[in-house]
């Protein structure tokens, strides 16, 4: 149930003249797991809004499943590309957790058992099954955030985009989000995550895209992007490689962006 998604030479200029995206070329294949990183204002959020049609490119085009997104309405795109926003309080309106999660699938024209099943599955994935009948506003911020993610999962879109899913989450919440991404990935769905947390990025993504001032600065596997050769580029946009990458570099190993990669490299060296 996966589809490719692509931005081709996309530029975007806001009405106030800000050039938020400039010559973006990004091809995400079916089932890829991509993280987009960069400072606020680097164009990450603007870029993902192009992918689900909330914003339309000023120049260039966006392709969803090979079709020019310009020919699809936002509602049609919403069935293909789910986008969970950063701030859950900008979307939660229902009096019950279950109703909030059902909003998306119902909008997509689904009904009855199909919706119930999708809602149950989504709540289970984020660990909120026990609070299905609670009022969303009785939940703390971190659980409201998971609820917002569930409301996108329930739409069962081939592409899922998560904007800053770990903000405000504790260690368990972060582990939960990681599990969600891995599960989506094993189902073959495409996952794009925006995050400021480099360790989370290195551990969850297969591909890291670094943005700066509306352009793509680096694009590669976590091992490549956090490799020593790219440190000056990362530093130019205030990003630091993960600790395992820094330790690996000191030991003459490259491409060790995660603890697991470092352990593996050390074991291989030992023979």
């Amino acid at each position: 149930m996966s589809i490719p998604i692509a931005a081709e030479s996309v530029a975007f200029v806001y009405p106030d003249g800000t050039r938020a995206l400039d010559g973006i070329d990004l091809h995400v294949a079916e089932g890829e797991r991509v993280a987009i990183v960069g400072q606020n204002g680097s164009g990450k959020s603007t870029l993902v809004r192009q992918l689900n049609g909330l914003l339309r490119p000023t120049e260039g085009r966006v392709l969803v499943d090979g079709r020019d997104a310009a020919q699809l309405h936002v509602a049609q795109l919403a069935a293909r590309v789910g986008l969970a926003f950063q701030n859950p309080d900008r979307q939660i309106f229902a009096g019950r957790v279950r109703a909030e999660v059902a909003f998306g699938p119902r909008n997509l024209g689904r009904s009855g058992d199909a919706v119930d099943r999708a809602v149950d599955e989504a709540l289970d994935a984020v660990g909120l099954s026990g609070t299905a009948d609670a009022n969303p506003y009785d939940l703390g911020y971190s659980r409201r955030k998971l609820l917002a993610i569930a409301s996108i999962l329930a739409m069962q879109t081939p592409v899922v985009i998560l904007d800053e899913p770990t903000t405000g989450q504790d260690a368990r919440g972060v582990a939960r989000v990681r599990a969600i991404i891995e599960r989506l990935s094993t189902e073959g769905r495409t996952v794009i995550t925006i995050s400021h947390d480099m360790r989370f990025v290195a551990e969850t993504a297969r591909r890291v895209v670094v943005m700066r001032e509306g352009r793509i600065l680096l694009d590669g596997t976590p091992g490549e992007v956090f490799g020593e050769a790219n440190w000056p580029a990362l530093a130019s946009t205030y990003l630091e490689p993960t600790l395992p990458a820094r330790v690996g570099a000191r030991l003459g190993l490259d491409g060790t962006a995660t603890e697991a990669a470092l352990v593996e490299a050390l074991q291989a060296r030992r023979g």
Binding site: G140, D170, R172, V174, L234, E240, L243, L262
Partner: protein
């Protein structure tokens, strides 16, 4: 002389459950105490209680003792508490008054509320701009700052009331890496330079490792773990308590588990790399931010 919670229990107005269930905590002048714990373990409530906002400003019931330099916060008016213990929240924008046109006037907002002489107000604003190294922001429009800058201005606004203690509730959670670094650096030297006692709630244990003397970990309204920062942050129970150990502690554990625990050069490399970052504090003011990791020796 200290900010002291002794057997503090607190429940919010209209609820029947104690969110804080007997908290003992002490912040001495010039010390930085970190507070970690899973979500909904009571960290933010500790901030409200320690700063005197609860119950004075938001109601609820406080039992036990919360005192600032020997004076109980119960019965202290909010504006009195604000001059003894400042508090900084997560969201930079909601903390600014929004009624001022320059950062200078924004910082003067608090001192003006106290009805201080103009000379005194100007002196305080200049002192705090200088202390945080943000004099360059003074003429700017508070509505046009980056997240990190806005958070520093919010911090400055609280410090302008000259509190002896400061409570910080996840001051960097809503900031990007650049903003986190900006605020982290400003906070790092603050306790040492001004003698302010700081209580900081933070998920990012790296930040605590870099600046806290002591760390306490909360679990459902009680302190489950407390002690000197290096000990608590290396405690194996941290993960069970819903707290992510600092990267270096995690890495050591992972290497140990893989049977690589005896490699001296590996551990030296961790020490070296961890000492090099995250870059919090220690940079002379005015120096261009050193970006990126240290070049290997």
């Amino acid at each position: 002389m200290s900010l002291t919670l002794a057997g503090a229990r607190y429940r919010y107005a209209g609820t029947a459950r104690d969110v804080l269930d007997g908290i003992d905590l002490e912040v001495a002048p010039g010390r930085v105490v970190g507070l970690a714990g899973a979500n909904e373990s009571g960290k933010s409530t500790v901030c409200l209680v320690a700063s005197g906002l609860a119950p004075a400003s938001i109601g609820g019931r406080l039992d036990g003792s919360v005192s600032i330099d020997g004076i109980e916060t119960k019965g202290m008016a909010p504006h009195e508490a604000a001059q003894r213990c400042g508090v900084l929240f997560q969201n930079p924008t909601t903390q600014l008054s929004g009624t001022t046109v320059t950062v200078f006037e924004e910082i003067a907002f608090g001192p003006r509320n106290l009805g201080l002489e103009i000379g005194e107000i100007v002196g305080r604003v200049e002192w705090v701009l200088d202390t945080l190294g943000i004099a360059a922001l003074a003429p700017k429009d508070p509505a046009r700052l980056s997240g990190g800058q806005a958070q520093l201005v919010a911090l400055a606004s609280v410090l302008a009331l000259r509190p002896a203690y400061l409570v910080l509730d996840e001051p960097t959670s809503q900031l990007d890496p650049q903003g986190t670094r900006l605020v982290g650096e400003a906070l790092a030297g603050l306790a040492a330079e001004t003698g302010t006692g700081i209580l900081i709630v933070e998920h990012k244990t790296e930040l605590l490792a870099a600046m806290a003397h002591d760390v306490a970990v909360l679990e459902t309204g009680r302190i489950a773990l407390a002690g000197p920062a290096p000990e608590v942050l290396a405690d194996p129970r941290l993960a069970e308590l819903g707290v992510e150990p600092p990267a270096s502690a995690r890495l050591r554990l992972a290497l140990g588990a893989a049977g690589l625990g005896s490699d001296r050069d590996v551990f030296d490399a961790i020490d070296g790399a961890a000492a090099g970052g995250p870059r919090v504090g220690g940079r002379p003011a005015g120096e261009a931010p050193a970006v990126g990791p240290p070049v290997n020796a």
